[in-house]
Symmetry: C2
Subunit: 171 residues, 2 copies
């Protein structure tokens, strides 16, 4: 997969996944089903893991993997069958064993944000499985990314809470 930094788009980020919308991802409204947005973002996190040494070979060598603790998605536009999509990934923060990522869904090369997903990922020793600090080789790849992305604009849809505009019990 070609990886590149999108310096001319907002939010910036690394392209970590590309795919066409497949027939099995489309619902009865003729749109990409909400659940499959997160499947696509999940593949985007796999692509991000490749960048920090947690690809299949790295996971095997280290006995580590990432587990998703939490995810938040905003669905901004409908996406139709056959659309060619890409996920752009930005590191929003990290500590010794967690990485907070922001993932934007776009049509390939376009600037219109279709969906935004924020995730907290935990580094896990699969022998337990138990939470553990990032391996030094992983931290050495993650740290420069986190530092580079710290200068990027914070995504508009990060940090949200779901709530009704004016909560009522009944319609």
């Amino acid at each position: 997969m070609a990886l590149m930094t999108m310096r001319n788009s907002k939010p910036a980020g690394l392209v970590t996944y590309r795919s066409e919308v497949l027939p099995e991802w489309v619902d009865y409204n003729g749109h990409l089903r909400d659940g499959f947005y997160l499947v696509i973002f999940s593949y985007g996190v796999d692509g991000f893991m490749d960048l920090i040494g947690l690809d299949a070979a790295g996971r095997k060598a280290l006995g580590h993997s990432l587990f998703t603790l939490e995810a938040h998605l905003n669905f901004l536009h409908e996406v139709k069958l056959g659309a060619r999509l890409e996920v752009r990934t930005q590191v929003l923060g990290c500590d010794a064993k967690r990485v907070h990522v922001g993932l934007g869904l776009y049509e390939e090369g376009q600037d219109k944000l279709l969906s935004f997903c924020e995730q907290m990922q935990l580094n896990v020793d699969m022998a337990g499985p138990t939470a553990t600090t990032f391996a030094p080789s992983v931290a050495a790849l993650l740290q420069p990314l986190a530092l580079a992305h710290a200068g990027l604009e914070k995504p508009k849809f990060a940090g949200r809470v779901i709530a009704l505009p004016q909560p009522k019990v009944a319609p």
Copy 2:
């Protein structure tokens, strides 16, 4: 699909989807992939739509459907291939055109919460598509559910914001 109220479990809710974990939902860690939790919750919302007159026949007759605006998921336990799961759905609130739902993932008949998902759903006139108020026939089914569920305990994982415990730029 059999629907029943789970009065003896927390959080209470209506069972709106049941399925075994399928091979194509499992990732390289041998667990249900994060994205497919949301696919399962999405089918749980379909089951909820059946309860409020927005099943396939209702959608066709009214020209209305629900669009997901926003979703937040907490992943609490790993789920393995072949596990028999159910989604329990609780109405957390609604207004004239939105419904806020809480969805719990459990093994069938068990009380251990495996994952929680909170969603904001918008009623849409598919002729636009444009946001529109619930049809009277839908509101007449939604209102009693919302009133009944207003008395249930608020789910522990509703209303969360994703954040690092102690944000740092570098690991």
